[in-house]
């Protein structure tokens, strides 16, 4: 390359760089009314029509791009919101479970501190033992749960099992859910009131009078119980409380002490063809959802486990 040509190039570069730097410096230091700002304003003004044309021509493409991007963003946003929704639902569900369990425990505590239980403890020599439900029977034909206390804790077969519940018409704080039907060192199986094999000697308490019967699961609805063998001459009305009778009725022996809360009367019927009243009872405890229990063990069967408060 000739020397003159090389010099020309470098000179051109130097001039352009100097011009650029001068522009930057001047523009940066001058006021808004300065010459470079004025040139800029005039150029913007002059280019405005051309920019307008370009904008108009490009607008459909921009709209299409925005739309496509919006679709992508919307899909991503939808997925994110779905995930967040699932997470929040899970959190809500966990909190609801925790709250319900806390309610149950509180009610069970209230029960063990109640006068009713003090009387029971004194009369029957019972000791409350708190436990958590470990598993539930997956079969439809049975209603059993496994709890986390066993023989080592003093649990024996036929021990009554209650769970805490808070309802308007139950002051005790806990209600019968079933009885222990098998026990290992660490766990016990509880057969619930809704199990077809269960029958409980029960009585309806109305004023100072009681009406005896035998409580069995309702054949059509597992959430309900039927109190059978009820004297048709007795007055029974809805909302009457039902508790364990502690008596043996027509061969159905009762392993439960007298006075354990069970539920409330929600229906009464007397058919022409029947010699007994048919009383429908709704247990206070939802037998499909409780998660903690109190096992009423014999005070002299205390094991190594810890008793409920």
């Amino acid at each position: 390359m000739p020397h003159s040509s090389r010099l020309f190039r470098r000179l051109t570069l130097a001039v352009l760089l100097a011009a650029s730097l001068a522009s930057v410096t001047v523009y940066f230091r001058e006021p808004e009314s300065g010459p470079l700002h004025a040139v800029q304003a005039r150029l913007v003004e002059a280019a405005a029509p051309a920019e307008g044309v370009v904008q108009r021509v490009a607008q459909p493409f921009r709209d299409a791009a925005t739309w496509a991007r919006g679709l992508g963003d919307a899909a991503a946003e939808r997925d994110r919101l779905r995930e967040e929704n699932a997470r929040l639902r899970q959190e809500l569900s966990d909190r609801e479970i925790d709250r319900r369990e806390a309610d149950e425990l509180l009610q069970e505590l209230n029960y063990t501190e109640s006068k009713a239980f003090a009387t029971l403890r004194r009369r029957e020599g019972l000791r409350p033992l708190g436990a958590r439900v470990l598993t539930r029977s997956p079969q439809l034909l049975t209603a059993k749960v496994v709890i986390g206390v066993g023989r080592a804790d003093g649990v024996r077969v036929d021990d009554p099992v209650l769970s805490g519940v808070k309802t308007v018409d139950l002051k005790a704080g806990a209600s019968l859910v079933g009885k222990v039907t098998s026990v290992t060192d660490e766990t016990a199986t509880v057969t619930l009131l809704s199990d077809p094999t269960m029958a409980v000697g029960a009585m309806i308490v109305r004023g100072g009078r009681t009406t005896l019967g035998v409580l069995q699961p309702n054949a059509g609805d597992r959430t309900l119980q039927s109190l059978g063998m009820v004297d048709p001459t007795r007055v029974v009305e809805k909302a009457d409380p039902v508790v364990t009778s502690g008596y043996e009725v027509d061969g159905f022996g009762s392993v439960f002490p007298k006075g354990l809360p069970i539920g409330t009367v929600t229906g009464v019927a007397l058919r022409d063809t029947s010699v007994f009243k048919e009383v429908q009872v709704t247990p206070w405890v939802d037998l499909e959802t409780f998660s903690t229990v109190i096992v009423l063990t014999s005070a002299d069967a205390a094991g190594t486990g810890s008793a409920a408060p």
Binding site: M1, S5, F8, R9, T12, L13, L16, L17, A19, S20, L21, A22, S23, V24, T25, V26, Y27, F28, L36, V39, Q40, L43, V44, A47, A50, E51, V54, Q55, A58, F61, R62, A65
Partner: protein, 191 residues
Amino acid sequence: MKLSERFSASRGFPLLRGGLDALSIWGLLTVAVLLQVTVVVDVRVVGGTPSLPVVVVVAVALLRGPVVGALAGFYGGFLADALGAGLVGASALILVLVGYASGAWGESVNDRAALRPLVLVAAMSVLADLGSLTVAILVGTGPAIGTTLFAGAIPAAMVNLLLAIAVYPLVRRLLRRDDAAPSGVRGPVTA
């Protein structure tokens, strides 16, 4: 023979030919800057914004050499700053260097490899972004835009590379001159 072909074949009227060349480059850069400040500036690809003026300046510099490249860079940068309401002279400073360096590189590589202009466009895009960052630091806005520039530099370079696939052949076709050579001693890169 068409008029344009007859014109291309002739070796006369160098002033007229130079004028037409300058007019083509002026038109190309003006359109590129207009598109940049009106449309392309809104395009975001993985955080990076493509730069049409950089692509056009590199293409012109490869075809016409460092002096024309630097002049094109100055004009394109100045116009982009003015129309984009930016710091006038900042883009000009960067594009002058980009144009000169691309032109010089085009002279030193006299082959027909199609990929080299594209690679150069990508490299110059990154350098232009670094230049912008340097200027931003000098005028005190570096920290504010530094992260954006760093995050967007590579995606922008990739998009510029894709743009170059379409733009470079177009520029080459517009500036075709059978007997043209860059202002250096070696022939132009014709990809």
